[in-house]
Symmetry: C2
Subunit: 330 residues, 2 copies
């Protein structure tokens, strides 16, 4: 089995590649070949038995998408994206990569299939950013997608294309709307959502962290480990039960900032909580106010997707896999 | 005020152009200029006081969209589309016109506005085809768009673009999801929805008509006159109350085929009803089963959109405006 990961240099892409290299199989199938693609050549995971090739390519440029489709991978993970903040700052870049890039890939697969039968499993990482307020809490699976960012619009459009290309038989598509990933490993970043990880990650390492919102803010969280599990499950599930609605909201933990702080206290004591500086930031508060608080992801749950059920578990995953010096950091 | 109608050669486009030419104004503003565009030069309505230019252009080709945007119309009605059946038969044509054409137009306006401030009111005709079963009956305004045709996907994507380009301040967009138009004037056509008009229109002229589905089939209907009223109201309403959700499901009549037949009997007697031949067609039955039955279009109603409330009214409109020899056929 040949696996193609587009966006294999990102945090989730690297973890997915490492996980597949470790296990050597996807579902019941042995992985014989992996193609890892990103704007810069992504790292090759250590210990892979399969033949692994790491390539630099931009799917929105020239014939890059055709060249990738011509490899006729059995499973394609499409994780490449311009992130939310950047897509908002740079309108043209966001549309070029997040919309035109995805469409170029789908078109390349369709053309490849018109030459010789080819219907790959196509796993697309979407986002809860396809939802914009006002919404109910929790948000049900059949709620309207009314995004409030260009990134969310680009993801919602890609979901519609994924459904149509699947319905027409050009791909066997599954989209997954990822929760906000907590605890993201590595250094703090400037993303508006960064504090959801920062207020746990930094205190767990004895560093100070800034909390820019009130403790009542609630959001939908899952670990990097769950994100990888979602992608692998999406690549192996029986799509005959999906029907026409090919993208699923993933399960997660609906946690308030107060829930996060309580879990931090349980994991690392009151001195860790003391490291959180409360400095309200009206800009971030405004952005976060438009974000979903929680979901009722019934379809995904019925299809066997599972995630953490508490912030305590999110912290455990970080300490086991991602913290500096963790037993199994990728 | 300069009005641009793209798709001015279609049934609704011709009626809109004729209505604007008759009234000479849009809201409180006098119309001084109209540009009418379609693949072939559309008809120039009689009696227009304004300067009217009729052009042939394909917005999905070359720099046609730029040339139209450069006219800097105050209000743009974008009605041009490859219809549902054709977009399903011809995948590439549907995406080229219904997606790429709409996007080319939006991009051309954005670029025009970057040269010199320009934010036209942009009225887009969408469709209830953005909804796909299963759905509740009635469908609320916040229900997910999960189209089951490529046409519906192209319309849903255009709605998302309309919202994003409006949010970013490139256009002042309003989308309206038109009900199935009944009674369509003219000859019977091959559309799956054609019988909704045919079982009224043909018997009203003493002709036979085929009913391919059961009388319990329910669907969402409005007259051509209402469609024109919707477009004009969308062009003049205060968009500050719309928020980020820029497309509205239009009001209509939720009528079963039995309701239609009862109204036909009231309008033209039992001998007209005798002209309906019941010949069930499983293909049409299958298509129609995936269509919406009724809506709760609360947002549009609150914003002042109104439609007919009975099939009797749909028939009255036809007899007054569209039937052969009607007092005011356009």
């Amino acid at each position: 089995m040949h696996i193609l990961i587009i966006g294999a240099g990102g945090m989730i892409g690297r973890k997915l590649a490492a996980s597949l290299a470790r296990s050597g199989c996807l579902g019941a199938q042995t992985i014989t070949r992996m193609t890892l693609v990103d704007i810069a050549p992504p790292p090759v995971p250590s210990g892979a038995v399969a033949a692994v090739e790491a390539l630099a390519a931009d799917i929105s440029e020239g014939d890059a998408a055709q060249a990738l489709a011509a490899r006729r991978a059995d499973v394609i993970f499409h994780l490449a994206a311009i992130v939310s903040g950047e897509a908002e700052r740079n309108f043209e870049l966001g549309y070029r990569v997040n919309l035109d890039g995805t469409r170029a890939l789908l078109e390349a697969i369709r053309h490849e299939g018109s030459r010789q039968a080819y219907v790959p499993r196509f796993v697309f990482s979407s986002s809860i950013a396809v939802y914009g307020s006002p919404f109910p809490d929790p948000i049900p699976d059949d709620y309207v997608q009314a995004p409030l960012t260009s990134y969310g619009v680009q993801k919602a459009i890609s979901e519609l294309l994924l459904a149509d290309y699947s319905r027409r038989g050009f791909i066997d598509g599954v989209g997954i709307r990822l929760p906000t990933i907590v605890i993201r490993p590595g250094a703090p970043n400037a993303a508006a959502s960064g504090f959801f990880s920062g207020i746990l990650r930094e205190p767990l390492s004895g560093q100070r962290a800034v909390l820019p919102v009130e403790e009542t803010v609630k959001h939908w969280l899952a670990s990097p480990r769950s994100a990888v599990k979602f992608l692998i499950h999406a690549a192996t599930l029986d799509t005959s039960s999906l029907g026409a609605r090919r993208t699923l909201t993933m399960p997660g933990v609906a946690a308030t900032v107060a829930d996060q702080i309580a879990a931090l206290r349980r994991a690392a004591g009151p001195e860790a909580v003391e490291l959180i500086d409360r400095r309200r930031d009206e800009v971030i508060e405004g952005i976060v106010a438009g974000w979903p608080k929680s979901f009722a992801p019934d379809r995904a749950t019925q299809l066997g997707f599972t995630a953490e059920t508490s912030v305590d578990e999110l912290i455990e995953v970080y300490l086991a896999e991602d913290a500096p010096g963790a037993p199994r950091a990728d």
